[in-house]
Amino acid sequence: MIDRLNEFFFPKQVSTFASDIDNLFYFIFYSSVVLMAIVVIGMVVFSIKYRFKKGDKVRLTSSKDHDNILESLFFIIPLILVSITFVWGIRSYLKMIIVPDDAIEIKVTGQSWFWTFDYPEGGTSLNELVVPSNTPIKILLSSKDVLHSFFIPVMRTKMDALPNRYNIMWFEAQEEGVYDIFCTEYCGTAHSQMAAKVIVMKPKQYEEWVKELGSGDDDLPLDELGEKLYTKKACNTCHTLDGSDLVGPSYLETSRMWGQTRNFEDGSSAVIDENYIRKSILEPQSQIVAGYQGVMPTYQGLLSDRELDALIAFLKSLNDK
């Protein structure tokens, strides 16, 4: 019964403290249901019982307007409920903020509009947070530009990413799987697309995964690797493959215009070729396509040479498909 109810109200409970939070919710929920019942029953009974019936005469009514016992209950009952809620709430809260000493520290950086994850072993991933199960994970959170907020519903936790300051959160996942991460602080046009995934793996698998993180997919052909990187490096938050505009021009459009001239905001222009694409990725601010805003972040340092080539090859190939 409780499980079914929980499924109705909440996403899965994955972190260690999720059930605590949910139970706190149920406590307030049931208290509220009782209070609500008192209000509704009182309202309905009085308004119907003492209704002005057809044929009634307007008359003087009772002058009763206080009752000491009743009125002290107005204070005592809420006070008791509130005290329990407070103590319970703070105990759960302390669990959420005191990070276990043996936690793995992952650095999470928000940026309009994607997340970067730096692992203690040295690798970096974009929009895909991979963590081992049953291990406390400490998140050192910050932002490169405006406020973002890092929200993992299944873990029941969330924290704002501030520019130029760190914030801390932690969780310990108890179940492997792939879960949603949302940005919950408004951060501009593509705020609602600033989604990522948290992938919880068995600790063994995780170790292998971080080891491979640096090495890349050497065996894939360039354009297939490019297609993979397109989502992995979060290009898809701003560029589509089907010709429609998001924040940036669609790749399909760019691909169609291969060899033609691009006009820029400042009045200059350039021919779309490999060099231009490379420059667009590494120094996006240098040439801003007319009709768009210069919001694309630089990928300097986030892509290897091979990855750059792969993206260029993929982009070029789109028109032929």
């Binding site: 209704r51 107005f74 924040v247």
Partner: protein
């Protein structure tokens, strides 16, 4: 009433200039009323547009940028142009002097100035709309608001200006309550609506200056980069949030206290019963206003403020609930052994009790810091504040509008249609916003132009009911306007509900230009239904 029965403030003096330059609080109140309703309709239309976009996950009804601008304008218009200035400005202005037996508010010229300042500020907001909108959310969090290329400056400047109007209105009302009461009308004989306006005004004059300075700092941050709120310049965005919420939490009590006042008037009148626990209701108003200043940090539970303040703010937040509960229970007990008529105002008042209690109790969920970390900036919050603002304030406003409409205009609306609309609003409202609690619990973030498929069913449901809600509100307003036509035969008489407050008993409907034909003499307490009988003049 004598032969000059038909000289009233509506037709005397005549001419457009006599309205634009009027110092009469009733006329100023009406000007607030109509501008407020227009902004409400604009805000509501924006809301319906948003709901349309959200009806299905991949909807492409409007672009991301347009959506972001729509919800910001929706929030900012509803709050800064409608419920904060217009409800006290309209009902407060029309009723306060009448209820205390004064000829006008303490500073009539300031009152008119206040209206024009409000209009001037509203022009900036309108400019913002036609110039492409603004996309920061009504909270204008830095550093996004210092970087956004949208119209942040016109909008915040507009809010800054409207702030002055709000301050001047508050100041005027406080002076009126203190100094202009008719002899014999002591504090404990004041109608509770007056108490509520008094509490509201106190919050207005203490909190609004901080909003003004916050907006100034924000604008300076954009132009000069002073660095107080911008982390790139050594500042702190969380400090901005303290500044903003120091105003904006108390501001929610600017929105709800007048609503409490309206309900405290309507329930006794339509139950024909002495109000339960008069002093408790009066003092709970003041304590809500005061405690409201100590809890603003509950909007910042995920911002990274110190753990110490998280705990303190969470603790104090719960205590707002206790005086509010006292009010709710007192209103219910007021009906005990009364003669309850299910008139339109009463139907609205009863649905207020239901909806506001849900809204308030969900505020307690949000006040629990551990739970709020999950719920913050999700649709649970959206649902909470619509339950308190739309389900609380707007419903109470509609209740008050229907209650005092015959007072203000001397005309009666079609009560059947009005009551049906009240039901429609109640049902449509729950249908629209109850699913949003579930959305929020399941993790749907707010301020999202698109969302993933898992949330689509509840969103569709919410959109469907929002049209019923919109339609009911729209018809309710049309119904009121229709009653103003020349050949309306429905005559409410001067005291349709048989009420005992001075605005009903001591003057005609609509009132004399100087409120009372002769100096009024205070006769009976506002809720003495156990001592005095006044037959309702409204015929069934």
């Amino acid at each position: 009433m004598s032969e000059n029965q038909n000289i009233n403030y509506l037709n005397h003096p005549k001419g457009i200039m006599s309205w634009l330059l009027t110092l009469d609080h009733k006329r100023i109140g009406l000007m607030y009323l109509f501008s407020g309703i227009i902004f409400f309709l604009i805000g509501g239309l924006l809301a319906l547009g948003m709901r349309l976009e959200l009806a299905a996950p991949g909807n492409d009804f409007v672009s991301n940028d347009t959506y972001n601008s729509m919800y910001t304008l929706h929030g900012a218009i509803m709050i800064f142009l409608f419920i904060i200035p217009a409800i006290p400005g309209a009902l407060g202005n029309i009723l306060l002097p009448l209820m205390v037996g004064a000829k006008d508010v303490a500073f009539p010229r300031l009152n008119l100035a206040s209206f024009y300042i409000y209009s001037f500020g509203a022009l900036f907001a309108i400019y913002t709309i036609v110039n492409g909108g603004v996309d920061t959310g009504w909270t204008f969090y830095t550093p996004y608001s210092t970087q956004s290329t949208s119209n942040v400056v016109p909008m915040t400047l507009g809010i800054f200006i409207i702030g002055f109007s709000s301050i001047l209105t508050g100041l005027n009302f406080i002076a009126t309550v203190h100094k202009m009461r008719v002899p014999g009308l002591t504090w404990y004989k004041l109608p509770l609506f007056v108490w509520a306006l008094y509490g509201t005004s106190l919050v207005q004059i203490t909190a609004t200056p901080v909003l003004a300075i916050t907006m100034v700092l924000l604008i300076l941050e954009r132009f000069l980069g002073i660095g107080i709120f911008d982390p790139a310049l050594g500042g702190d965005p969380v400090l901005y949030q303290h500044f903003f919420w120091f105003y904006s939490h108390p501001a929610v009590y600017i929105m709800i206290l007048p609503a409490f006042g309206i309900i405290s008037e309507i329930i006794p009148v339509h139950s024909r019963k002495k109000v339960w626990g008069y002093k408790f209701i009066a003092y709970s108003t003041l304590s809500i206003a005061f405690i409201g200043f100590l809890v603003w940090g509950h909007h910042m539970f995920t911002s990274g403020q110190s753990v110490f303040s998280q705990i303190v703010f969470s603790f104090i937040t719960y205590f707002v609930g206790i005086p509010t509960g006292v009010k709710i229970f007192s209103w219910i007990l007021t009906m005990y052994k009364g003669q309850v008529s299910f008139t339109t105002p009463m139907i609205y008042a009863l649905s207020f009790l239901f909806l506001f209690t849900i809204g308030g109790l969900t505020g307690i969920f949000l006040g629990a810091v551990a739970l709020d970390i999950h719920l913050h900036d999700t649709y649970f919050v959206v649902a909470h504040f619509h339950y308190v603002m739309q389900g609380g304030t707007i419903i109470a406003f509609l209740a008050g509008l229907h209650h005092w409409w015959p007072k203000s205009f001397g005309k009666m609306y079609n009560q059947k249609i009005a009551s049906l609309c009240a039901l429609g609003v109640f049902i449509g409202f729950n249908g629209t916003f109850f699913p949003q609690f579930l959305l929020g619990l399941r993790g749907m973030p707010r301020r999202y132009a698109t969302y993933s498929d898992q949330f689509s069913e509840l969103h569709t449901y919410s959109t469907f009911w929002s049209t019923i809600l919109g339609l009911s509100i729209f018809i309710a307003i049309l119904n009121l306007m229709w009653s103003l036509r020349k050949n309306n035969k429905l005559d409410p008489g001067s005291n349709p509900w048989g009420a005992l407050t001075m605005e009903w008993t001591h003057t005609s409907s609509p009132p004399h230009p100087h409120n009372f034909e002769s100096d009024p003499v205070f006769t009976n307490g506002p809720y003495d239904y156990d001592k005095v009988i006044v037959e309702p003049t409204l015929k069934k």
